[in-house]
């Protein structure tokens, strides 16, 4: 399963997904959130949801010099913190800016596609999908 952005245009920018991600990690606030929502140049134009899209061949893993990002079944990566040296190459390699950064540990924070945030999206913007189709037009 992977997290997918189903309908960006329905996003009202409430940020509940961001807060949900923190709670999933037994946190409150936003420091640990692995999902972001921001306006497309002002709220009048709507929003984009910034989150790992579970690439089949993720550039972040490819550039990791220590193999700390292991390929996840179904797409995306999972972090092996012991191997990570905090170089930040993964963040630079992700062109959707979906690699968030933990300033305390100096390591990346990346969506694990658990789907916890989906339950808290009041407008059906987010959903869980079985597998990635390689065509266009979604998430």
């Amino acid at each position: 399963m992977r997290l997918a952005v189903l309908e960006t245009e329905k996003c009202v920018g409430c940020q509940l997904c961001m807060f949900a991600c923190s709670r999933r990690q037994n946190e409150a606030g936003l420091a640990k959130s692995c999902i972001g929502v921001r306006s497309i140049g002002g709220m009048e134009r709507g929003f984009m949801v910034v989150v790992c899209r579970a690439c089949e061949d993720p550039p972040c893993a490819r550039v990791c010099p220590t193999g700390a990002l292991e390929l996840r079944k179904g797409g995306g990566v999972s972090l092996k913190p012991d191997k990570c040296i905090g170089c930040g190459h993964c963040r630079d390699a992700c062109m959707v800016n979906a690699i968030f950064w933990n300033d305390e540990t100096n390591k990346p924070m990346i969506c694990v596609h658990c789907g916890f945030c989906v339950d808290f999206c009041p407008h059906g913007v987010l959903g869980l999908k079985e597998e990635r189709r390689s065509n266009h037009g979604e998430g």
Binding site: V12, G13, C14, Q15, L16, F19, S22, R23, N26, E27, A28, G29, L30, A31, K32, S33, G36, V37, R38, S39, G41, G42, M43, E44, R45, G46, V50, F120, P122, H123
Partner: protein, 584 residues
């Protein structure tokens, strides 16, 4: 509160000295919770007695509370200042991203002191505070200045950009501060206070953790509130049509102020109703940070350029009940596109839609009665329903080309003092009236409310839910109004949106506060609510307010309201009762 919660940190910024400092104020937060409770104390500390509201001594205080960033619908920031409109307690609330941004930046309150000698804006990103040159955006309207700051500052997706338009710069006494294009510290002139300090904007962003006492209880209680917010009927109207939903029912009830309250029913109400706007114009819905409801409704208005065929512009313009009343029915404007064009102009100037509409309504009637002529209005023929005349007049309120517009920029009460027509200048405690002629509770509520806002105590709701069904004495009414206002001190100290008052009930709040490390029981909340309110009245009395000398516009007794027994005696008795209770 929980150890290491940064809520108790107060950031103070001095515009005169270009310095800033952070102080821990656990003393205030533990006693007054946060939000309005803490901000009121900071106002007492920071605001010198009888200071000039537009002088450098007037402080600006922003505060959030323990539930901000923790629970949904805790989405508001409280601002306190001395109002340049009323010369007394200024308090205004705003959502957008402001509350979460301030809390995530690691502060419970922000105090702005002094004044700059050149245009500046303040940028706060966590512990970084910068004073930035705003010369290039001074004189710029709201939307454009927001756009430029957005491109120059960090924190996309996490920040609030509070800014003023030309109205604030020109010290229009009811200029507002706009955040995120469509939300406002709307009332009582915070925008003019910004302008007087040469402060164009405040940008705040941050991303931090909030410690809680019990993670399990936090997650459980969060889920319950979320569920109620998205499923219960108490939030449905805000969700579907937004606050514009109120136009039709209030009109049927006979409580929709129309043409300067010469009537309380508007024959063209359906033209500006929530239903009409949704059917023909609704283009996008937005939410404040951490709010699942998304009550912000934005219309898409497509207009053809008059001088060029096949050349259109599409503007995204917000609508809500109060501006629809003030710039719609109050001015006799019953066509949605006309309302939207006027609203767009008002937003660009950054002046309060409510005060502007009521001031222009006074001016229209004054013109009808010959108290003012086109000499005063510089050739603008103010006529009910003529939105282009109102757009021109609004521009003059900002540019202030003559004494008349300079006076109108000080509010309807000052204008009536100078030109006459006091009985139909619809201000309460110096603040222009909200959109409710529902009965005595609405009017007594705004008269005795600490900031003369309909949201102080929701009197209009008491008219519709209680007085419409049974007769109550003036004394009973005052008790009902004050009970509500006392409780709202708690809501605005947490700080939760008043639209969520049906969710954040007195029995539930202690449990949520316990997650934030506050051990307060319902009776403690009752006591603290009263104390905060008393502290506000202490400020008001200090600055010369008196319930004795309150001006009650005669018009409210001439135009029948839905509550037949409303009259001057009744209202005065209710105020007399308030005076007994609120004497210090």
């Amino acid at each position: 509160m929980v150890k290491d919660d940064r809520l108790t940190r107060v950031l103070s910024v001095d515009l005169s000295k270009r310095t800033f400092s952070v102080e821990d104020r656990t003393d205030l937060f533990s006693r007054y919770i946060g939000g309005t409770g803490v901000a009121t104390q900071l106002l007492h500390e920071e605001c010198p007695e009888r200071c000039d509201p537009l002088g450098e001594d007037n402080p600006i205080i922003f505060a959030v509370g323990p539930l901000t960033g923790l629970y949904p619908l805790a989405s508001k920031t409280v601002a306190l200042f001395k109002s340049p409109l009323t010369g007394n307690l200024g308090e205004s609330h705003c959502g957008g991203r402001s509350a979460v941004a301030l809390r995530m930046a690691g502060y419970g309150a922000l105090v702005i002191r002094g004044a700059s000698d050149m245009p500046v804006y303040i940028s706060i990103d966590g512990h970084d505070v910068h004073f930035r040159d705003a010369s290039s955006i001074w004189g710029m309207q709201n939307f454009s200045s927001g756009r430029i700051i957005r491109e120059n500052e960090p924190g996309a997706g996490l920040r609030t950009i509070m800014r003023i338009g030309t109205g604030g710069e020109a010290l229009v006494r009811y200029a507002c501060v706009t955040t995120e294009s469509y939300r406002h510290f709307g009332r009582l002139g915070l925008g003019a206070v910004f302008g007087s300090k040469k402060l164009k904007a405040v940008v705040i962003s941050g991303k931090s953790s909030i410690p809680v006492t019990d993670t399990k209880l936090y997650r459980k209680s969060y889920r319950e509130i979320f569920k109620t917010a998205v499923e219960s009927p108490v939030m449905k109207k805000y969700h579907d049509l937004g606050t514009a939903d109120n136009i039709e029912p209030l009109n049927r009830f006979g409580g929709l102020p129309t043409r300067n309250l010469t009537e309380a029913r508007f024959d063209e109400a359906s033209g500006i109703s929530g239903e009409t706007l949704a059917a023909h114009y609704l283009g996008r819905r937005l939410a404040c940070s951490h709010c699942p409801v998304g009550c912000i409704h934005i219309a898409a208005l497509r207009e053809l350029y008059e001088d060029e065929e096949f050349f259109y512009k599409t503007s995204m313009i917000s609508y809500d009940y109060e501006p629809l009343y003030a710039l719609g029915s109050m001015l006799g404007i019953g066509q949605a596109d006309r309302y939207l064009k006027l609203m767009d102009r008002i937003e660009a100037f950054g002046i309060d839609a409510m005060s502007t509409g009521v001031a222009l309504a006074w001016a229209t009637e004054a013109m009808e009665r010959g108290l003012i002529t086109e000499t005063e209005t510089k050739g603008v023929r103010l006529t009910w329903g003529d939105h282009t005349a109102y757009m021109e007049a609004a521009g003059n309120i900002v540019s202030q080309p003559n004494e008349f517009y300079r006076t109108l920029a000080r509010g309807a009460e000052d204008a009536a003092d100078r030109y006459g027509g006091e009985e139909f200048a619809l201000t309460f405690g110096g603040n222009e009236m909200p959109g409710y002629h529902t009965g005595p509770a609405a009017h007594v509520g705004t008269l005795i409310g600490a900031r003369h806002s309909h949201l102080d105590n929701g009197g209009y709701g008491i008219d519709q839910k209680v007085l419409a069904k049974k007769e109550v004495t003036p004394e009973e009414l005052t008790t009902m109004i004050l009970d509500e206002e006392w409780w709202r001190q708690i809501l605005s100290s947490l700080v939760v949106c008043f639209f969520a008052r049906g969710i954040y009930l007195p029995d539930l709040v202690p449990q949520l506060l316990s997650v934030a490390g506050f051990d307060l029981q319902p009776n403690d909340l009752t006591r603290i609510g009263r104390e905060i309110h008393r502290e506000k009245y202490r400020f008001k009395y200090r600055e010369g307010f008196s319930l004795d000398t309150l001006r009650i516009p005669g018009r409210i007794f001439e135009t029948p309201s839905p509550i037949p027994y409303m009259n001057r005696d009744y209202v005065e008795q209710a105020i007399a009762r308030a005076q007994e209770i609120l004497s210090l």
